[in-house]
């Protein structure tokens, strides 16, 4: 199945809003760290419902926000959630970004980067569109050290890239980005049921659920264009 087919389905069944709610727990902490100045242009790769860009408009007075998604239904949903004239959505693919060189101040991506058919090509594209000193904030819950995410691949027909922390740093550097930071951001908000309620539908033990959210959380790697 293509990205379009898979995620158009998610969009029409409302999963864009469900992801927004869950991802927000950790995404907001990563978004708060981005040194966005008033007027800066931000590109959100795999924007889903588009919440991240809207938050950067509200909290940091970002200038233009471009949300790019491979699923037309996602982009249409996202456009429907805002009247802000400074926010635009477009359909495109991670493998060939439709922007000129040095046109973007910051690139953001939450839970989307690893769907790139060729993640190194995508990094090279990001390095191309960023202006010198621009940042790439790459946030993922699906990564090697997060053992509880490994089985996600079975649920989706698109091939996912499962790098570990070091592979992220190495690949950023190979694409010409400096690595400025790497961190895991815990999800302190998701409700974890009491011991007695385990096993649940998704979790065998409470310990595993605690480890998944409170410890592994979201892996953030921050690159800076030279």
């Amino acid at each position: 199945m293509s990205v379009r087919e898979e995620f158009d389905d998610w969009a029409t069944s409302g999963r864009d809003r469900g992801m927004e709610e869950r991802h927000w727990h950790t995404a907001k902490h990563a978004l708060a760290r981005i040194p966005v100045e008033p007027g800066d242009t931000v590109l959100d790769l795999g924007c889903g419902s588009g919440y991240a860009g809207r938050a950067l408009r509200d909290t940091k007075d970002a200038g233009r926000i471009y949300g790019l998604d491979g699923s037309p239904e996602m982009a249409h949903n996202a456009a429907g959630y805002t009247d802000d004239e400074q926010v635009s959505y477009l359909v495109g693919d991670f493998g060939s970004l439709p922007f000129g060189e040095n046109t973007i101040d910051h690139v953001w991506s939450m839970e989307a980067f690893y769907y790139a058919a060729d993640p190194r090509e995508t990094l090279a594209e990001i390095a191309r569109v960023l202006r010198p000193g621009g940042t790439f904030y790459c946030a993922v819950n699906y990564y090697e050290e997060n053992v509880h995410s490994h089985q996600w691949q079975e649920k989706i027909s698109i091939e996912m890239t499962r790098w570990d922390r070091e592979q992220y740093r190495d690949a950023f550097r190979e694409s010409g980005l400096y690595v400025a930071e790497q961190d895991t951001i815990p999800d302190r908000e998701i409700t974890i049921p009491a011991e007695a309620e385990f096993p649940t539908q998704n979790w065998d033990t409470r310990e595993e659920m605690v480890e998944r959210y409170r410890e592994f959380g979201t892996l953030l790697t921050v690159g800076v264009a030279p």
């Binding site: 004239e85 635009s88 959505y89 495109g92 493998g95 000129g100």
Partner: protein, 71 residues
């Protein structure tokens, strides 16, 4: 989409500039800076590839990844 987006948008294939053709605009009381393009096509000034704008959203997928949406 805003027409000003053309400043930074490029053809996904060869990264050349795009031109807007057959545009229809939303009613913006004559303020052309704020002109919102509702439909039309973006055409690469180099390779001539056409990219559709549907419902104000440009589709800049490489042509081989694009599927026609049902009417």
């Amino acid at each position: 989409m805003k027409e000003s987006l053309l400043d930074i948008l490029r053809c996904p294939l060869d990264k050349h500039e795009l031109e807007l053709e057959n545009a229809t605009y939303a009613d913006t009381d004559g303020d052309t800076d704020a002109a919102e393009v509702v439909s039309g096509e973006l055409v690469c000034t180099d390779c001539g590839e056409h990219y559709p704008i549907d419902d104000g959203i440009p589709n800049l997928l490489p042509p081989d990844m694009r599927e026609e949406s049902p009417a």
